[in-house]
């Protein structure tokens, strides 16, 4: 019981974080779907259209925020699922470390990808 009490405040904050990031994702995803798919003939931007779209610093900022929020929400959700299976505390700590590492790598790779494409867009 003591172990559960010690974790409880963290779990509450994570639950709030998961809810807030989920609401943010609904807004960001709606903008993404409409702008990237539903407003474009054919449903997908061709290379030239992507370059024109990504030149805007506002779009760049939105894509980076989107990447951060979706990575946070996804890995926190994966953590909740893992915890549903009643893992021992030692395993829980390893799960946290692994998911944190995956999150850092995912955000780092995604950020590199966005900035590389942004540079391409500026030179296009």
């Amino acid at each position: 019981m003591q172990q559960q009490r010690e974790r409880y405040p963290d779990d509450s904050m994570r639950w709030i974080g998961q809810s807030i990031s989920g609401v943010l994702l609904i807004v960001l995803l709606a903008i993404h779907m409409i702008a990237q798919h539903y407003m474009v003939e054919g449903g997908l931007r061709d290379y030239e259209q992507v370059m024109v779209w990504l030149r805007s610093p506002w779009v760049l900022a939105m894509e980076i925020i989107f990447l951060g929020v979706v990575t946070y929400h996804a890995l926190l959700g994966a953590r909740s699922i893992a915890y549903d299976f009643g893992l021992p505390l030692a395993v829980q700590k390893n799960v946290n470390r692994i998911l944190l590492a995956i999150g850092v790598v995912t955000f780092g790779y995604g950020l590199w990808l966005i900035l590389t494409i942004y540079q391409q867009a500026l030179q296009f």
Partner: protein, 143 residues
């Protein structure tokens, strides 16, 4: 504050509950028998969430095609218009709508808001997700 676990569960199903074996927890988690509609919605959110996490990584791989220039990306765009990919897009949209709207319901109920109306909320989520899927799916096929 409530945990991420649906409130209709017993305390034994508390996430991270140390006393039960993982295998038992897993069996309880995936067993749909004797479960309320709200709990099944909660399980749907978990399953859809796993699918969406996998899609996130697939999406990053696809977007890396943009770094290889216009020919690589435009080749992917042509491939993405095949009927199979369009059908998968509709499945993806269903997952996004279901997970997003049902997630809102879980967040509301878990916060103690509209707990008594959770059945109505679930029906509302199903109707809204269905309507948006019809519109979004039709647009995917028409565009």
């Amino acid at each position: 504050m409530a945990s991420t676990q649906h409130p209709s569960n017993s305390s034994k199903a508390y996430p991270g509950h140390v006393g039960s074996r993982p295998r038992q927890q897993m069996l309880r988690w995936v067993d749909p028998r004797h479960k309320s509609a709200g709990y099944l919605g909660f399980i749907f959110n978990r399953v859809a969430g796993i699918g969406l996490v996998l899609y996130l990584y697939m999406h990053l791989i696809v977007l890396s095609t943009l770094t290889r220039g216009p020919e690589a990306w435009d080749g992917f765009v042509a491939f993405a218009k095949s009927p199979l990919i369009l059908a998968m897009d509709i499945v993806l949209l269903a997952g996004l709508l279901g997970h997003g709207l049902n997630g809102l319901r879980v967040a509301l109920v878990g916060s103690g808001i509209a707990v008594k109306q959770q059945r109505t909320l679930l029906n509302g989520v199903l109707v809204l997700a269905g309507v948006l899927l019809l519109i979004g799916g039709a647009l995917i096929l028409v565009l």
